[in-house]
Symmetry: C2
Subunit: 230 residues, 2 copies
């Protein structure tokens, strides 16, 4: 059964937005009384039925609201934009499927790209959310500077992944925490950036001997924390 996404949907406002209502009624040909499953992308699922089909939107009757299975950790990946937008797109699709809470594109000294089609990236995350039956849409933050991101507060373990680092991420990370992980551009971080991150409480870590593309390294980290906390 399809999962519908509407950020503004709630028990007090059980109206499915136009896009999703169109898909439900015009594409799937649903009728009054048919069951619908919705998420607000904020951790909640709703089991509902179609109460009224109006022009443009549908009024639903919520039968049950329930939260997504509790996740033991929070993950924020701060990653240098990849050379091509499409590599960023598949990273966000896969990260949404596997599990990530926040993503921030970070402009580093060696960054080649400094802009992204953010709206398109959000669309891809929504599609992945629905496809993977999740209820938490990752937060895609605006592009940030390196100095902004290393000043971010509220994360229990902060890592900067770099080839030079002495220890593997699995040696320095612990389960069930809030993680912020920095992933650099193709040319890796500048030594000054690594030094500044360490001064701000980041631990440097490597991902093994492999020379990984930016998006592969980021996905490796997403996979690692999902397995560590499984």
């Amino acid at each position: 059964m399809d999962l519908f996404y509407d950020a503004d949907f709630s028990e007090s406002n059980p109206i499915l937005n136009e896009t999703e209502s169109h898909h439900l009624v015009k594409v799937l040909r649903a009728r009054v009384g048919d069951p619908v499953r919705i998420t607000n992308g904020k951790g909640d699922f709703f089991n509902a039925r179609i109460a009224e089909i109006n022009t443009g939107t549908c009024l639903l009757k919520v039968e049950r609201k329930y939260p997504e299975m509790h996740k033991k950790y929070r993950l924020h990946i701060a990653v240098a934009p990849t050379k091509s937008q499409d590599r960023m797109e598949w990273l966000l699709e896969k990260a949404t499927e596997i599990g990530i809470d926040e993503i921030t594109p970070v402009v580093c000294m060696h960054s080649e790209r400094r802009t992204l089609q953010m709206q398109r990236l959000n669309k891809i995350m929504v599609a992945a959310l629905k496809q993977s039956m999740k209820a938490t849409l990752p937060v895609l933050h605006p592009i940030s500077s390196f100095d902004e991101i290393i000043r971010t507060k509220g994360w229990e373990q902060k890592f900067i992944c770099t080839e030079g680092a002495g220890k593997h991420l699995k040696v320095v990370s612990s389960p069930s925490l809030k993680y912020l992980v920095l992933i650099g551009p193709e040319g890796d971080f500048h030594p000054d950036e690594v030094a500044r991150a360490k001064d701000s409480g980041f631990l440097d870590a490597n991902l093994g001997g492999n020379r990984l593309r930016t998006e592969t390294a980021a996905l490796q980290v997403v996979s690692y924390f999902s397995i560590l906390n499984a």
Copy 2:
């Protein structure tokens, strides 16, 4: 410095094939005496210099032959072909970067696709091999039937990943072994397939609560074993 790939290159036959010679001489404008780094995709790197530039090919002088850093494990992923060829392509690109030894597309009961552009997939693995500076080109086996693959011999731990499975892969796997892992299609394996695999010595395992696409599940497994054995 670019890495060149020529499966037939050796100290006794130090002739770089036409495609790579063209790239070296016509694209990179290399000259006699210039250094070249080559891999045969069989675990060996060669540091060489251009001795002669002939029509079509280059004769090189090998200065040093050395093996890729020893890998502690071997991984064979047997995966149902994805609906779209391009998802298979990125899986093979990423798996090559992170580390995999053998890949077999497997036709399962719920498979929607039964053919793949194998030559194109090989090209993508070669590109990823060169880009990630590796010396071992994964072996892409021809499409196999489910019964063929579960009879495959020579693997120390064999897993079939399925949503129903009781234990997480990380609970049932051990480091430094030869692993064969079965990844099913979108509709997952048929219970009969799981039963037959278990009869053939496969352990069933899950990858956590996430509902993953086929290629995401396969990459999750590739990442897991690379981290387990790091």
